[in-house]
């Protein structure tokens, strides 16, 4: 033990911890050693430029440290790393600063959510944002907090919306210039979704965009009666930002009530959509609705992934989107134009798109009194777990479910078919024995070509997955799943390179950083955070 301990001897704060300017956040790729936002950069590619870990040496990865949260909630956060200091969230809303080399704690800030705070699917948090010396966290009682990154002291605490009205915040905030942008969850409980921007210095609100238009605003006519008032369309996953157009992109959740559209006739804009907002004013510039008049709970709260690619021979600024509804999309992120869409799992609720990219519904594939088989499952082909795009391979990497379906009955919660019925909603912390058969669902990590949305390779798991995906410039893909393994794949072939049994479900996305020239990769699993690296050379 002593010998191993000595191997850990590294001075953590090798580089000075300078203020994190917005320019640094915007160009996170220029600082491979750091991880400055939820998915690494504001393009959400979850791609690390680090190259020390490769397909050739990944088999040598070793556990460096474990940090155990004092929480039995799912650990869904992706950490930030700034110059040797790692910041993460202990669910529901404690911020922790750790030494990124040893995993030892610098400080902890604890927020006590209001007793009336309610979330649909666990008292979870997915991460932080940073600007200057200030960390930002949304809370399950719908507050936005600013916390001193050096001391862990509270700087300001702003109420974004009322927790007594079932608003909550579970995702990582987005820093854009001098503002912090967050959205509110609670779509299953009859909120009216919000995206709002706050002054990073003072916490004062700068703008607010409702994801459901008010009477007199375009789109309100897509809701019958007063259904718009409690129509849901929550926002509960990270947004993206494109500096060239100054647009910020957010995915919105399902309309409410979830499985019964009889009281909310119409398309129900802007539920199940991506909205592109002017980052300075919150003005809607364009939207694309993935699932009009959703009665199948197909939240479109996936992380928008932005990429500059050659698409059909032309350079194109696109947005890649693997949706819960079983369809994968390529959109033009400047105009919102639908470029390509395709099922990536079994889909039976639609059978094509019109020329504008609107899905063609299959008659009868809606909730009925006697129940209807719908594919994919209510939790979708994928859900909230963050995917990855590697500019090096040009492939889009998604962890998702295969072989799923749901019996949907009007007004009732859906009944799964072809899925391990022991699973609970939105994942668990601990491992459970799993005995599947060929009829049941299973998880995969697949690499897709954005030009065709065809898979290039697949890595298959026995059980389903709630894990995210990380790619690196070393051509390694990291992911994990419900079975409690964290693993490395070859980014070009999908070959399994290495695995570690982490003893709890992976409900988060991996990330990578380096300190003192040594590359680390972390994953949250169960209630703990694990850090791996290659052995140190003596």
């Amino acid at each position: 033990m002593m010998a191993r301990t000595c191997l850990l001897v590294v001075l953590a704060a090798v580089s000075l911890q300078a203020q994190v300017s917005f320019d640094r956040v915007l160009h996170g790729e220029r600082e491979p050693q750091n991880w400055l936002s939820y998915s690494g950069t504001l393009f959400n590619q979850r791609f690390s430029p680090l190259t020390q870990i490769t397909p050739a040496n990944a088999k040598n990865l070793q556990l460096q440290w474990v940090w155990q949260a004092r929480s039995l909630e799912k650990f869904e956060a992706t950490a930030l790393v700034v110059d040797g200091v790692l910041y993460t969230v202990q669910a529901p809303n404690d911020v922790v600063a750790l030494d990124a080399v040893t995993g030892r704690v610098f400080w902890t800030y604890s927020h006590q959510p209001a007793p009336d705070a309610r979330t649909c699917c666990g008292r979870v948090n997915r991460g932080l944002a940073i600007l200057g010396d200030t960390l930002f966290m949304g809370t399950i009682d719908a507050h936005l907090l600013a916390i001193d990154a050096k001391s862990g002291g509270l700087i300001w605490d702003t109420t974004v919306a009322s927790s007594s009205q079932r608003y909550s915040i579970t995702h990582s905030p987005l820093v854009v210039k001098d503002k912090v942008i967050v959205g509110t969850a609670g779509g299953d409980m009859g909120i009216r979704g919000i995206v709002a921007a706050f002054d990073a210095k003072t916490g004062k609100e700068v703008w607010r965009f409702y994801t459901i238009p008010a009477p007199g605003e375009p789109g309100n006519e897509s809701w019958s009666g007063n259904s718009w008032m409690t129509g849901g369309a929550g926002v509960w996953n990270a947004g993206a930002y494109d500096p060239e157009t100054n647009l910020t992109f957010w995915g919105t959740g399902n309309p409410a009530p979830d499985w019964d559209g009889r009281t909310r006739l119409g398309d129900n804009l802007y539920s199940d959509s991506v909205v592109a907002l002017d980052a300075d004013t919150g003005t809607l510039k364009w939207h694309y609705q993935f699932t009009p008049h959703d009665e199948l709970d197909y939240d479109s709260t996936q992380v928008p992934v932005l990429a500059d690619i050659t698409f059909r021979g032309q350079p194109r600024k696109v947005m890649l989107w693997a949706n819960r509804n079983g369809l994968m999309y390529v959109l033009d992120r400047v105009t919102g134009e639908f470029l390509l869409g395709k099922p990536y799992v079994k889909v039976n609720w639609m059978n094509g798109f019109d020329h504008k990219g609107r899905p063609k519904r299959v008659p009868g594939k809606v909730p009925t009194p006697e129940g209807t088989l719908i594919q994919p499952h209510v939790h979708g082909a994928t859900n909230w777990a963050p995917p990855s795009f590697s500019p090096k391979t040009g492939l889009f990497y998604v962890a998702h479910w295969e072989n799923t379906g749901t019996i949907v009955t009007e007004g009732l919660s859906p009944r799964p078919v072809g899925v391990n019925t022991r699973q609970t909603t939105m994942g668990q912390v601990n491992l459970q024995q799993f005995f599947n058969n060929d009829e049941e669902a299973y998880g995969v990590v697949r690499a897709y070509d954005p030009n065709t949305l065809d898979p290039k390779w697949e890595y298959r798991m026995n059980d389903i997955t709630w894990g995210g995906v990380l790619t690196t410039a070393g051509d390694v893909v990291f992911s994990g799943g419900k079975e409690g393994y964290f693993f490395a794949l070859d980014a070009r072939t999908g070959e399994l390179l290495w695995k570690a049994s982490v003893g709890g479900q992976v409900n988060a996305g991996p990330m990578s950083y380096s300190v003192g020239g040594r590359q680390y990769v972390t994953i949250a699993a169960g209630s703990s955070l694990f850090a791996y690296a290659l052995p140190q050379t003596q």
């Binding site: 001897v9 704060a13 030494d99 040893t102 400080w107 050096k150 300001w156 109420t159 003072t202 916490g203």
Partner: protein, 256 residues
């Protein structure tokens, strides 16, 4: 409001010093310390750390709305006062006796604070002659080296603040301790101790950098004396009282 209704509020009648103090006379120092802890856990949410946040009552100075014996106070702590915000609690008789002993002891020690302070003057001294922001931070302004004082008026009693000014080394809270390390190549670093264990130590150094060291990398390491200077003789009694009043006034920032 939730906090107000959840804790003990001593509501009595008349403003007067308390009566005889049998508990305090027989209490040990440990009893008084235990009583202080129980007071902070059970009573301070409503009464404040100094026991003076309810109008007409100053528990820390033995001022109630009518004279109360120790036994009467014990009864109020345990059973509350009907038809008032002061609720009954699950505090045991022994704990209540210790709380009373603590309050009596605090009232005795307060007699040394004779000069009334002026908070605005105290702020001027804090920012000027005292040079306090070189080490301390208030509402986002100043250094992080020393404790952040933005809410110190909610957290510490007047007597403790006065003692920290005049005799800072007498009692240093664990969260405010300093630590020094010297690396094997001779670099000395001193900072506020954030955490340490058998193998590592974490500090906030003088440049406000979060630093973590592995002890086997160090030539020496250990606790350092508090860098907080004594203001005894540097501030006169009136100036000391002014600064204490200013610190007492620091209750945190209002949210936007």
């Amino acid at each position: 409001m939730r906090r107000s209704s959840a804790a003990i509020i001593l509501v009595a009648i008349g403003l007067h010093a308390a009566g005889t103090s049998l508990s305090a006379q027989h209490a040990t120092a440990f009893d008084i310390e235990d009583g202080g802890r129980a007071f902070r856990n059970t009573c301070a949410n409503c009464h404040g750390p100094d026991g003076d946040q309810i109008a007409g009552i100053d528990l820390g100075r033995g001022q109630f709305r009518r004279p109360l014996t120790d036994q009467e106070l014990v009864g109020i702590i345990r059973k509350g006062i009907p038809n008032t915000p002061m609720p009954a609690t699950n505090v045991s008789e022994a704990q209540a006796v210790k709380i009373v002993a603590y309050l009596r002891s605090a009232a005795e020690s307060r007699k040394s604070v004779a000069v009334a302070g002026d908070a605005p003057r105290g702020k001027m001294i804090f920012d000027g002659k005292g040079d306090c922001s070189t080490c301390h931070r208030v509402n986002g302004v100043g250094s992080r080296q020393g404790p952040d004082l933005s809410r110190v008026g909610q957290l510490r009693r007047t007597i403790e603040l006065e003692q920290s000014l005049l005799d800072p080394a007498a009692e240093v809270l664990p969260a405010n301790r300093f630590y020094h390390v010297t690396t094997k190549d001779g670099v000395a670093v001193t900072g506020r101790l954030l955490n340490h264990d058998t193998f590592t130590v974490q500090i906030l150094d003088a440049k406000e950098q979060l630093r973590s060291f592995v002890k086997t990398d160090l030539k020496d390491y250990g606790f350092a004396p508090t860098p907080m200077p004594s203001y005894k003789g540097r501030l006169n009694p009136q100036e000391t009282a002014d600064v204490v009043s200013y610190l007492v006034s620091l209750k945190g920032r209002t949210n936007p």
